[in-house]
Amino acid sequence: MNSQFFTAWIEETARTIAAHRDHLTRLDAAIGDADHGTNLDRGFTAVREALSAASPDTPGEVLTLTGTTLIRKVGGASGPLYGTAFRRMGATLTTAAGEAVRSAPDGETAVTLTELAAAFEAAVAGVRELGGASEGDKTMVDALAPAARALAGAARDGREPGEAFDAALAAAREGVRATVPLQARKGRASYLGERGIGHEDPGAASTALLFTALRAVAGA
């Protein structure tokens, strides 16, 4: 997986978010403040512009620029959280690439599934550190953490990327579904107490879209 792959993933994510913008906003209207779709769409639109202006040429740079742009353009809770997630992924891949270059002096920087899984694990850690949410708190962590675990498992089992992304997407979607019966303990939805029960978490839903896009790009 090279920088083209990651650029394609982010662009596909931007399209997917745009297509689901109103849906995400409606989810946020039910238990939040009706801006999640608008926020992410604004952010990923800016990310597309930033990527096409800068054309970063390593996977790490693609994801770091994505994260930085999200932090600079989104605001709200999701801006810093998703921004941090992508920046952590970028940093992980850059470090991995550095090691790869050292060990393979021909300059090959393609990302392995194992490295990508590690990057997602770093993203989960970043989001948890910044937002303080654990799984079960009804946040994006409920989709991101199981998806990252699924990816890591698939990598350990030596699966093909396509299969691994299927597993990650399934785990993310299952995580989204699992937020429905929960009472939120973090973010705006926590203000609602028991009234938030029965609603899907918008941030978990948008996280699942990252994996929808990943699956789509890998399949292409």
Binding site: R26, D35, G187
Partner: protein, 330 residues
């Protein structure tokens, strides 16, 4: 949805352009979305920066001016500003005595201001933060994001701003801001939802016989839905919630705040009930604001915010202020 806007995604900048035309004392940086005093920075004075999602006007930009904020960073509708805005604003108002960030306690606001504060520190701007969390509708527990910041923000900005004008240090200004927050509580009631422009329809639906109790300022539904009731009854529910959390006594600063679509005549009806409630308990509505100060777009409803005054706080409240939305003294 009908709104006086040109497009859902240009509301904030279009409104800022209007502010720039209406208030020559302010500088409005449309590209960075920062509103600051034309005279900024004031050498030797602690700079006050606040910000948050738009849709709460006049909060915060309407409170930029002598005796209150030095700069405001409006985010998109109901979306906290991004760190860049806060960093840029902090630089512009830093007169060498440091910058106070007044932050309402929402996950997004806290994270974005925190990121900004860290970068400011790296860049040599001393920053202190006052976190406002006055809304008693939300229990401050491990199981929530903590109490929300609402009406008390106005009190914190006014009183900390007044102290900053005296040349007090960043520590002193932050301390008095924290003190105001600690002595303040709010509770809000909605008669209707609001409509976020980009969402295009009301965030929640309320029938003609229901109200939402314990609402926030972002169209989030409240803690409970209740039958519509008189101003007197609704005021008592709000005041009881406040009084349960912070027993009311002595001189009190009170704000009866409209949520954006509430006629002023109704706010005065509520204020009469608030004053009666206070007097019954031997407290005195010594200072007050009645009007739209911390709104939630086109929501109908009100919130009440009280602050237990001390002589010092009263003096700072009475100190001159010259902003678009709050003005007195010279």
């Amino acid at each position: 949805m009908k709104k006086l806007i040109n497009a859902a995604d240009s509301v904030v900048t279009d409104a800022l352009a209007g502010m720039a035309e209406a208030h020559p004392d302010l500088r409005v940086d449309l590209a960075n979305k920062i509103v600051y005093r034309r005279s900024a920075p004031t050498p030797g004075k602690v700079g006050l920066v606040s910000g948050g999602g738009s849709g709460h006007e006049p909060l915060h930009a309407g409170f930029v001016g002598h005796g209150m904020l030095d700069a405001a960073c409006p985010g998109e509708i109901f979306t906290s500003p991004v760190p860049d805005q806060v960093i840029e604003a902090s630089h512009r108002v830093d007169g060498g005595a440091g910058v106070l960030h007044v932050v309402k306690n929402y996950t997004g606001d806290v994270m974005n201001f925190q990121m900004a504060a860290e970068l400011c520190a790296e860049e040599g701007v001393e920053v202190a933060t006052v976190l406002v969390n006055d809304d008693v509708a939300v229990k401050d527990s491990l199981y929530t994001a903590g109490r929300r910041g609402t009406g008390a923000t106005v009190f914190v900005e006014k009183i900390a701003g007044a102290l900053a004008e005296t040349g007090a240090s960043l520590g002193e200004v932050a301390r008095v801001g924290g003190q105001v927050n600690t002595r303040s509580r709010s509770f809000g009631v909605a008669l209707s939802s609001c409509t976020v422009p980009a969402a295009g329809k009301p965030t929640f639906e309320l029938s003609d016989t229901e109200v939402e109790l314990g609402i926030g300022i972002h169209g989030e539904p409240g803690r409970t839905r209740a039958p519509a009731a008189t101003a007197r009854e609704l005021t008592r529910i709000a005041m009881d919630a406040v009084d349960d959390d912070l027993p009311l006594s002595g001189d009190v600063l009170v704000m009866v705040n409209g949520m954006g679509a509430t006629p002023l005549i109704e706010l005065y009806v509520v204020f009469a009930e608030v004053a009666a409630y206070l007097r019954e308990r031997g407290a005195v509505p010594a200072r007050s604001l009645v009007g739209n100060y911390v709104t939630s777009l086109d929501m109908q409803g009100f919130s009440v915010t009280v602050c237990l005054l001390t002589d010092d706080l009263t003096r700072l409240w009475d100190a001159p202020v010259q902003t678009a939305a709050l003005r007195w003294g010279r």
